[in-house]
Assembly symmetry: C2
DNA sequence: TTACCTTTTGCACACGTGTGCAGAGATGCT
DNA sequence: AGCATCTCTGCACACGTGTGCAAAAGGTAA
């Protein structure tokens, strides 16, 4: 059994309330007593019980974070941003992975409720809107990150995917590409639609046609699915000279398949990614991508949530807050001008 | 304020103790009352408070996990294994990243203690032995995963790094390589030493010389550091024909640098990784590596810890338990026979 | 009816911490 | 001395849940 506040009280010959006040720095207690108690607590290795404290104060100093997968380096970097921020402000994290599984999502929400997390950050873009409402209805402050059902959450942090995708596409157009394809991830809802939207906008602004068969969606974001998609694009009568991939992991798969199929990147085909995960800089050729400020997104989300918690006590200002962060185009080696002899389309 | 057990009691016209028993499935309560209470609790959206419960029961149903970095896909897969296992058995995870930072390590240990985590899994191989002892001295059941200071922990899960590295090296020797270098990560202590040891054993068993300058250590596991190391090996008077890298991330960096320097892999140089992270299959060429069963390691660690928690109550059997898991050699495309014209060494 | 047993429920306390309030002691002022 | 004021500490209760024990309710037998 761990040493309690009462053990410290007994040892120092005071009441447990005095110990409580002394350790919390209450000025009511004389500085000599405070020092004596601090000393004893230190020696006895006393650690306050978070459970007892939060039972009394109704605050846990813990934030819940829901991601779809812990192993995904994309979420990893967001988590790093969140953690750095909350730790600095004295909070800890309760992390759960939903794995796109509705059953797990229910369990996670229940666990968060039982743990009485002070707030929740939802990083899983596909996290069920119903479960999100569940959390809100229980009074949890919730901050959504890149969530597809934007309308459900008052507080959220987004990356400007439309703009990013537009910039990526414009870059390819500027290089001279006209037959550009989009490879999406059907599972990521709003995110893939936004990126498709930016793609379409850039194409139309340049007066270029968006061919039906150049829009292709796969059921996930694994490199393996990206690799598979190359076969699809290759069997088209008129092949694209560039592929805008939904994210880096898909692009990595595309690069791999091209390499195996003897398609030279960027000579025969330009490929772009999105997100700028660590490994995108180490592919061959290095991936041209859009740097989504993952770490900052994590920080902003955590800051927003913590601010929310601290203002809530004062007056309850229900101002809706949505922050959109801008990323940066990163031109590396997987994009180049199309070959001059590449067959062109005029109709 | 969340609804409490007393609210449910008031609503159903019974005492809070009856509600507590009914919801816990105590057979003392008649089945009709139990059903009526269950119904009401459901309707009112009652969720028991984990804090109050654990204050009373002295169990939190939460396990702490300490990793060095959340963003590292290697730990991500271990975490997946741990999570799948504990969730099935009704536990949740409290995850913290030490980032190789002693200050953070202290904070993490303190947080775990305050949270009264039922047990702790240390995945960070470099986690300070002193902090580990701290946890043990407070009575925490601790399971160490691939920890460098094996002697400090009674309960641990290890991957057989010596054997893995031996197999990797034997594979290269079988291909005809004789000038083989080892690229280590100085920060990972025991792990890098074990892999170096396996390397040395294989070399000596084949009667091959281990040249001093072929053993090179960098200060971390980033791809960038792997890339930097290529310059070192290139300036050697007698260059190696193969490099055994400490892990996949370093190897990915090496591949990248080779690509940029015009060194063809595997024609001019064979490169091997270790761990088999997802991206190692998607490099060009695909990386020959050693598949460490990360998911299983996570599962085994979680199972060991949970078993520990459940037997501890009965009789306290202090049997030391160490489990060593075997991996599997994965030959892909980054290794091949050395070029016949490659200068040989005879002395 | 009383006595006794079984089933079901409530009382009361405990877990470890925080805090309003009262009270003890010290000090200063008239 | 008497009183007010200030500083410091302890009492007692609360947070939400679990549980030993007593007791109420209901049933059966004499």
């Amino acid at each position: 059994m761990a040493t309690t506040i009462k053990d410290v009280a007994r040892r120092t010959g005071v009441s447990h309330s005095t110990v409580s006040r002394a350790l919390r720095g209450n000025t009511l207690i004389s500085s000599e007593t405070t020092e004596r108690i601090r000393q004893a607590a230190q020696e006895m290795g006393y650690q306050p019980s978070a459970a007892a404290r939060s039972l009394k104060t109704n605050r846990t100093q813990v934030l819940g974070v829901i991601v779809s997968s812990i192993a995904d380096p994309f979420f990893g970097e967001i988590l790093n941003g969140i953690e750095a921020c909350v730790q600095e402000r004295g909070y800890s994290l309760f992390i759960a992975a939903s794995q796109h599984d509705p059953v797990k999502e229910r369990q996670i929400v229940q666990t968060m409720m039982e743990q009485r997390t002070d707030g929740v950050i939802i990083c899983s873009s596909s996290f069920s809107a119903e479960q999100g409402r569940q959390l809100l209805s229980y009074g949890f402050p919730v901050v959504a990150v890149n969530h597809q059902a934007a309308e459900n959450f008052h507080y959220s942090i987004y990356h400007d995917d439309v703009d990013g995708s537009r910039q990526i596409t414009q870059h390819l157009i500027a290089l001279g590409h006209r037959k550009i394809a989009y490879l999406g991830n059907a599972r990521s809802g709003r995110t893939t639609m936004d990126r498709l939207s930016g793609f379409t906008q850039a194409m139309q602004a340049a007066g270029l046609e968006v061919r039906q068969e150049y829009i292709y969606h796969v059921q996930g974001g694994d490199p393996a699915l990206g690799a598979d998609s190359v076969a699809y694009f290759q069997q088209l009568a008129v092949r694209p000279t560039a592929i805008v991939c939904f994210n880096d992991t898909l692009a990595i798969g595309v690069l791999k398949a091209c390499n195996q199929a003897g398609i030279r990147v960027p000579d025969d085909l330009s490929v772009t990614g999105f997100d700028n995960i660590t490994y995108s800089a180490f592919t061959s050729p290095a991936l041209t991508t859009f740097d989504q400020p993952k770490y900052s997104i994590g920080e902003e989300a955590a800051n927003l949530l913590l601010d929310l918690l601290h203002t809530k006590d004062d007056g309850h200002e229900e101002a809706e807050r949505v922050k959109v962060l801008q990323g940066k185009l990163l031109v590396r080696a997987s994009t180049a001008a199309p070959r001059p002899d590449s067959q062109d389309i005029h109709e």
